[in-house]
Amino acid sequence: MKLSVIVLILFCTMNLFAAESEMQRRDHVIVSLIADHDQISSNQDFKVGLKFIIEKGWHIYWKNPGDSGTAPKIKWEQSKVQISSFSWPTPHIFHIEPLANYGYEKEVIFPMEVKFSGNNFQLAGEASWLVCKIECIPGKAQLKLTIPVGEEEISFSDSKEIEKYLSLKAIATNDIKLSLDQDASTFKLKFSSEDMDLKSFEKAYFFPNDGTYIAHAAPQEMSTDKNHIELTIKKSDSLTENPEFIDGVLALEKKGEPRLSFEVSSEAKGAGLSLWMALAFAFLGGLILNLMPCVFPVISIKILGFVDSSQKTNTEISNHGWAYTAGVLLSFLILSGALLILRSLGQSLGWGFQLQSPYFVIFMMVLFFLIALNLWGVFEIGENLAGVGNKVSRQKGYGGSFFTGILATLVATPCTAPFMGSALGFAITLPPIQSVFIFLMLGFGMAVPYLILSYFPSWIRKLPKPGPWMITFKKILAIPMLLTVVWLGWVLSLQLQSPENIKNEGAWISYSETELQKLRDEGAPVFVDFTAAWCITCQVNKKVVLNTDKIQLAFKEAGVVLMKADWTNQDPVITKALAAFDRNSVPLYILYTKNKDDKPLVLPEILTDDIVLNSLKKL
């Protein structure tokens, strides 16, 4: 009698002070919602967790449950609270011959991140799960969590519990590289690391994110040497196509130490694209760059320079070619170096990042404006600025050519995206020296047509002789310069606007990871447009395809939610999202289908009506 009173009091007080939903007992599990705070302030981020206490011998499932079973879910009631999807602790394997499952026994918590602002915090939702021993029993529970909002935040002892399970989630790392090799019946996964002594681990197991790839119950044969672990895994019988890549969690164990786990992903192309091939593609990409609209204004400066060169000696001309090349290479070196250094410092930056800075944009605007005025003949700066003008002194002209190279690179980098997007994404994952070489090769490709011209000046001499026509020509060339200034000004205006003003543009909602996850959980197809004001390809796609009535109507009819990930200004969230697709530049177009387990469709960088309409058919 007394004991029950004490228990009752304890239970009541617990519920008074602890930010925890009522624990609900169902078949073989006790389920509740917990939070890492007892009191929160009116504007803060914190964590909640869906907690299961599981009866001995029974288990619930991971996101890929293995051969049978289903992952637990939670469906939130409409609320203003932004809440992430589960973070999944690394599972264990359960062999129930001849099948195998991935999941948890005894106890598990699925942590979630909450972004909260408001005066009262209430969370309500329905959790559903499947608990199995040999037999399976589905369960459901309505859970409610209320946390008082006050001046101060008070963290609660449950925070340790949530932290613990958060730490059981696989670590996202670039330190472990995965290369995939496969034949008709097996996958060979080769994990390698420069920093970790992989050989020292006694056990390794790979949990794939996609449940259709491997024969879950088959043993994963492990072999090690130096810094490598190789797992040979039998393919699933029902797998009909060789997947291009595989991703999942690698769990490593050694005696007497807690298990470690890492998020790993391979890309067949990563394995298939050798460094030499990457260099060759980079060179080709650089050549193509000369044809891009953003490079055009700079090329026009060059043309003038070469026309003028026809009065120079051969050596001088080839020296100009080298000066230009040096300018291009040096700026590629600096850009790629800066990118790598900033990245190693933890900054999320992508290619073309210099245009994400308003100061840089202003600088470029002024520069191009001056060049335009100069071409127009308003004043003559000659060699010191861009190597233009017909009074270029014979000795001092090399600086001008060098500077033209720098200028060409600075404006050209954002244009590399359409052709080089995935290759640059790949390059950035390589060891620093190799990736710098790839960027240099890209620059060399860009410079090479001029370098060749500078060695065959006879080709240049076929150009018309200098004369009064050059003045007219210069005036015409000022037009692309001024257009560039207008474009940069437009970029700048968008950068300086408050984010809200650009956020909601017609049918487009702005990108949010939690919103995307929520929509996908609800089974809504989502189209994400990774774009930036300074990305010309993006703007063309938008005008010509995406925002036309025809395509907008098609999106509407298909029930597709349109999401715009604006990368005009620096945004680590979007940089990370791009990286998830192995990109670090825009444009990128992703269509998520209704089934959230399906791989999202990646559309080409240059869109047409048909490409979009055909992709909608795959929903």
Partner: protein, 197 residues
């Protein structure tokens, strides 16, 4: 260019045949039905055949039977000259194992309407097809080639209320097949309880 190398890579890899792969001959079987009659794949030459793995205790099977979803499909397609075979591969002492009498009782209670209920004692048939869960569905065309292998629909919940919102892959595969069209979704990940071999 990257895609190309991946393509070349996959072209180099010969495809070796496995049990019950879509596009290949479905494995033959010889099993007793609940009336003691021996049934084999060859009996249904010239017909579409549906194989449905079942375990009466599994909540996912209950989802489709207690909502009458499975019976409706069985009636509709046996009415269109499709052979529908419901297979119990659960072994003695395990959930879902049926003696002929138990199968007959349940068939009546649930108003089941397949062409036959097969009792896969020894689980040879289940293993030949690589049946993993209940329900796990297969569709075989009149030439004996497997055209569908996977889940019954696209919603892996155990809640019958989700059925109207789901796309039924078996229904789709049969509709397309009967209309002489290729099956669009020919494989999916089956969901449910593990088969109790």
């Amino acid at each position: 260019m990257i895609k190309l190398s991946a393509l070349l890579l996959s072209l180099f890899m010969a495809t070796v045949s496995f049990a019950a792969k879509v596009g290949e001959k479905a494995p033959d079987f010889k099993v007793s039905d609940m009336n003691g009659k021996t049934v084999q794949l060859a009996d249904f030459k010239g017909k579409f055949v549906v194989l449905e793995w079942m375990n009466e205790g599994c909540p996912f099977v209950k989802k489709h039977y207690e909502s009458n979803n499975m019976q409706k499909l069985q009636k509709e397609y046996t009415g269109k000259n499709v052979a529908w075979l419901t297979v119990a591969s659960s072994q003695k002492g395990k959930q879902g194992h049926w003696t002929p009498e138990q199968a007959q009782t349940k068939a009546k209670e649930w108003n089941m309407a397949p062409t036959a209920i097969l009792l896969d004692e020894g689980a040879k048939m289940g293993k030949a097809y690589g049946a993993k869960v209940t329900p796990h569905m297969f569709v075989i065309n009149p030439e004996g080639v497997l055209v569908y292998n996977g889940a019954i629909d696209d919603n892996d919940s155990s809640d019958a209320a989700d059925i109207p919102k789901s796309t039924n892959y078996v229904d789709l595969a049969l509709k397309e097949s009967l209309a002489g069209k290729p099956v669009k979704v020919s494989t999916s990940k089956p969901y449910g309880c593990g088969v109790k071999f």
